[in-house]
């Protein structure tokens, strides 16, 4: 009996003839921590793959007058950095104030840079705390993830080849 095209093509034998050439180049991820606990997570995951991951800081320890003077230039630099990335991930701990991330995320959105918002919530995190963090991020994020452990950040980035 002659096999149909699908019956032949779907076999394990035929799968072995699939092209093994690389289909994509490595991806570059920009990670933005929105609170001190997330900064530790970001520092760790960037250190584990420094050639593919970069931390962007929304705040800097500079004098007030310098901060204001540099605001526009720094904002531009941040946006340019984000735009160069293949993947922009904002990371927050449930309960944290994510307003700064929302503003930056909105700027990214207006420039067509998709942003993933990843909130790390312990299983016993109160719903209200989670909602407080999620609310400002939701309108600007193209993907929202609520994970119960920081190890998900590594797993997600690896799965996305970043």
């Amino acid at each position: 009996m002659t096999l149909s095209e699908s019956a032949r093509a779907n076999s394990a034998h035929e799968a072995s003839f699939r092209s093994r050439y690389a289909q994509s180049t490595g991806r570059w991820a920009s990670l933005i921590a929105l609170d001190p606990a997330s900064e530790i997570v970001v520092a760790r995951v960037v250190a584990s793959q420094p050639d593919r991951r970069r931390a962007l800081a929304l705040s800097q320890d500079v004098a007030d007058e310098d901060w204001i003077a540099q605001l526009q230039a720094r904002a531009q630099t941040l946006l340019d950095d984000a735009a160069r990335a293949d993947l922009v991930v904002m990371i927050a701990t449930a309960g944290a104030d994510a307003q700064a991330g929302a503003l930056f995320g909105e700027a990214c959105r207006l420039r067509g840079v998709p942003v993933t918002a990843l909130v790390i919530a312990a299983p016993d995190t109160p719903d209200a705390a989670l909602s407080r963090t999620l609310a400002p991020l939701r309108p600007m994020a193209s993907m929202v993830v609520v994970a119960q452990g920081a190890d998900y950040v590594d797993d997600m980035l690896h799965a996305l080849r970043a």
Partner: protein, 428 residues
């Protein structure tokens, strides 16, 4: 992408494998009620989790799932005679009970003790919700009986079917979690399928082709919210629960019955796609039940006398390029179930996930894999019972809701996502 060893771990479910041990923590559906219809009926071959077994409903109505092959010379007990409280191998007359115990060896003296030394591997078999279920783990860890809502409502409120799918279980499960394909692959069915059309929420599906996804871990697995724009700045949410290891529910549409799936491994290159429909508070209407029998909604038409879909790889899934060109169907394959299955089977028996290129909207799939791998490791290394075994995790519903923009679906729809006896599904 997964590393090669991760892909191996997550796709192999035979005895002794980590994922196989995970699956052996749960009650799994294996046969429809119609397959063992009366006491003393013919036994039925079952392959599940790479084990060849035979399901028996003996002459006294006792149920059991035992090794398919006679302990004597290895002949298949599918040829067996179901008689007098046991299954007798026709080769030499050895007889076994539904618990696998050898009851008789005709050629041996009764007092030889040989019979007492023989026992086939056996697993419990129970009937619930139109299906027979088995538990293949250690007897001391046998969980409470399954409490999925579709399996506990009166029979007139539910319909269940199964179909053979010729690829690894994980490819099929990932299709159930991957909400982003619906707006593409199934777009032709929302307006035409009798079990979907007419729902108020359909206009949001068709009006906003770029949903935003929100993935939230919960006790039993995941909640995956797909958000689309609705009126007055509000969001239309479709919320899909995944409960470990292989249960998914589709968000409801209007007052149509609610549906979902189990994806149960047959072996590493095949699975059974179980599809159920139920309504929490009313009997299915005759026309709804008939539509399900006719293969609409998430069900399929069968090749006669089998549970293999009529459209299958041997006939190129009845591909219709004219229908594809006209847009009647987006892929050219008819029916939601086979639109999914045809593409999942085309990936090959076990897809090579080291080659894939996931994007951020695939986070539901990424997180499901992570949870499965984590749970399998925790079970293997620390004996930790995985999520989804607890019947409290099984009392879940899918939901479709319209919410203000500042509300998290997990909180705002918390009640809607819980089974509430006597309360209809939350739907739009």
């Amino acid at each position: 992408m997964l590393r090669r060893e991760q892909n191996e771990l997550i796709t192999r479910t035979g005895p002794g494998t980590q994922m196989g041990e995970l699956f052996r923590c749960y009650w799994l559906p294996i046969l429809l009620s119609e397959e063992l219809p009366f006491d003393g009926c013919p036994p039925v071959r079952v392959k599940v989790l790479s084990e060849r077994l035979i399901a028996v409903r003996d002459s006294e109505g006792k149920l059991g799932l035992i090794d398919e092959f006679c302990a004597h010379r290895g002949a298949s007990l599918w040829f067996g005679r179901n008689e007098d409280g046991g299954l007798r191998c026709p080769y030499h007359g050895w007889k076994f009970g539904v618990d696998g115990a050898c009851q008789e060896i005709p050629s041996e003296p009764e007092d030889s003790g040989m019979c007492q030394k023989i026992r086939l591997k056996s697993y419990p078999l129970i009937e619930r919700g139109g299906a027979f279920w088995t538990y293949m783990g250690k007897p001391e860890f046998q969980p409470e009986l399954p409490e999925w809502e579709f399996a506990t409502v009166p029979a007139e409120q539910s319909f269940i079917s199964k179909r053979f799918q010729e690829c690894n279980w994980m490819q099929a499960l990932e299709g159930g979690i991957d909400s982003s394909h619906v707006s593409w692959l199934h777009r032709g069915n929302l307006a035409s399928d009798p079990l979907f059309k007419g729902a108020g929420g359909n206009k949001y599906n068709l009006g906003d082709m770029k949903p935003v996804f929100e993935v939230v871990e919960n006790q039993g697995g995941l909640l995956i919210g797909a958000r689309r724009n609705a009126e007055e700045g509000k969001y239309y949410w479709r919320i899909t629960p995944w409960i470990m290891p292989c249960f998914t529910m589709v968000p409801p549409r209007g007052d149509h019955p609610v549906h979902g799936h189990f994806w149960v491994p047959v072996d590493d290159e095949n699975c059974t796609a179980w599809s159920f429909d139920y309504h929490p508070v009313r009997a299915l209407r005759p026309e709804e039940r008939q539509a399900m029998i006719d293969g609409f909604g998430i069900h399929v038409k069968y090749a006669p006398g089998t549970y293999r879909p009529l459209a299958n790889k041997d006939n190129d899934y009845l591909m219709d390029r004219q229908a594809q060109r006209r847009g009647d169907t987006y892929s050219g394959v008819a029916g939601i179930a086979m639109q999914d299955a045809s593409l999942q089977e085309s990936m090959g028996p076990i897809v090579d996930r080291t080659m894939e290129n996931l994007v951020s909207t695939d986070n539901g799939i990424i997180m499901a894999r992570q949870r499965l791998l984590r749970a399998a490791k925790a079970l293997a290394e620390k004996g930790i019972r995985p999520p989804g075994v607890d019947v409290a995790h099984q009392k879940i519903r899918s939901a479709a809701v319209v919410l203000p923009p500042d509300q998290a679906f997990k909180d705002a729809a918390a009640e809607a996502l819980q089974v509430r006896p006597g309360v209809p599904q939350t739907s739009v």
